[in-house]
């Protein structure tokens, strides 16, 4: 969306080729995504990557400028997604990192799904997408929201619990620069796409 030249290096998650010493050297937590800048500096954390790239390309209009009146709200919800919604989203796929045993893990799955629902519902109440979260233009917040929504637990029922957010998600996923990336990364969710899927 910002038109920056880049090269994509895929990290096959949950395979032996994932947590290799080479990958851990660029991101010691072993998570994706990791961005390597032209000068070799690495940036981890999806929210930081979104902010940095959007700020470096103000012409793309993906973030309210620092000091502008809309900036605090934008930062609030971007941090909400990354620091509050993402952790239980991730936890759902890594229950064994927190407790041992089937019973405890089933309980943790239940509380984790309940937490996801509560967090999405609180966000749903704070937005009136038109059609994007911040109005008639897409922003980095739409990307962060759509990505984490796609990762949220199926039984959290995101689209039913949060119709307004789901509509904003559909809007950003139909964006011509976004649709191909999403189709590749979230193939299971393709049937939900509002966009044109003729070339899928």
């Amino acid at each position: 969306m910002i038109g920056a030249p880049h090269r994509l290096a895929r990290v096959p998650l949950y395979t032996p080729a994932h947590r290799t010493p080479a990958y851990l050297a660029v991101n010691p937590l072993g998570t994706v995504p990791t961005l390597v800048l032209p000068d070799g500096e690495t940036v981890t954390e999806s929210a930081a990557i979104l902010l940095l790239l959007s700020e470096r390309h103000p012409e793309a209009g993906l973030v309210p400028a620092p000091g502008s009146p809309e900036r605090p709200r934008f930062l609030r919800w971007l941090a909400y997604l990354s620091a509050t919604v993402y952790p239980p989203t991730r936890r759902y796929y890594h229950l064994a990192d927190h407790v041992a045993g089937a019973v405890a893990q089933a309980e943790l799955r239940r509380t984790t799904v309940a937490e996801q629902v509560r967090l999405w519902v609180a966000m749903e109440a704070a937005f009136d997408p038109a059609p994007y979260l911040l109005g008639d233009r897409p922003s980095a917040l739409d990307l962060a929201m759509a990505m984490i929504a796609r990762l949220s637990a199926p039984e959290a029922g995101f689209a039913v619990a949060c119709p307004k957010l789901a509509a904003a998600r559909d809007a950003i996923e139909a964006h011509p620069e976004v649709a191909p990336v999403w189709r590749e990364n979230f193939p299971d969710s393709a049937p939900d796409f509002a966009g044109d899927r003729a070339d899928a």
Binding site: G67, P72, A83, L108
Partner: protein, 195 residues
């Protein structure tokens, strides 16, 4: 609070005790649906929750304070990267450690959640320790909001002797920012393990 003092912003504090039976109060829920602190009302009544978001927003409103490197500054990638790293990794681990009962019911499961949270927290600190080169502040010669955020989070949950021994570079940077009398005053009020 310390950041508001450092940038010279006027403010009024509303103290909230999260350990009383009536927490979260209707007043807090009205501004923060999750009933969490910190929550701030910026000029114009704009409510900001999420500690990292409010620190970045405040720092950016006072560019001359240098508390947030400018968007075109060479320190900007590290600034954003570590602010989000702390908010999205360290803080959630601290939360799981203190509020294990929110996600686990049985006593055994709770203990385990706490133990794993502490393990993860220590790993998160070690990863940051290995990556930084304070000179003497985390991003170079001048302090930024990152120094405050790091110092604040490192005063929670982890054993302070462990932190100083395992993360000497972070601890040294922390000493520098905590030397500031404005920071020390706020810290003295908020952290029993300070001084």
């Amino acid at each position: 609070m310390a950041l508001l003092d450092l940038v010279g912003a006027p403010y009024r504090i509303v103290s909230i005790d999260i350990n009383t039976p009536d927490h979260p109060t209707a007043e807090l829920l009205a501004v923060n649906p999750l009933g969490q602190i910190p929550t701030i009302a910026m000029p114009g009544g704009r409510i900001v929750t999420e500690s990292a978001a409010m620190m970045i927003a405040i720092a950016e409103d006072y560019p001359e304070s240098g508390m947030a490197p400018a968007t075109n500054a060479p320190e900007r990638p590290a600034f954003l990267g570590w602010m989000v790293y702390l908010a999205a990794n360290v803080y959630p681990a601290v939360r799981r450690y203190f509020f294990s009962g929110e996600i686990a019911e049985s006593e055994t499961a709770r203990d385990e959640v706490r133990r794993m949270a502490m393990k993860e927290l220590q790993r998160d600190w070690r990863v940051m320790e290995a990556a930084v080169d304070p000179a003497p502040y985390l991003l170079g010669r001048a302090p930024t909001a990152l120094d405050l955020y790091t110092a604040m989070l490192s005063r929670w949950a982890v054993d302070q002797d462990w932190f100083r021994e395992s993360c000497p570079k972070l601890a040294a940077a922390r000493d520098r920012i905590e030397d500031d009398p404005k920071v020390a005053t706020v810290w003295r009020e908020n952290f029993l393990n300070f001084e």
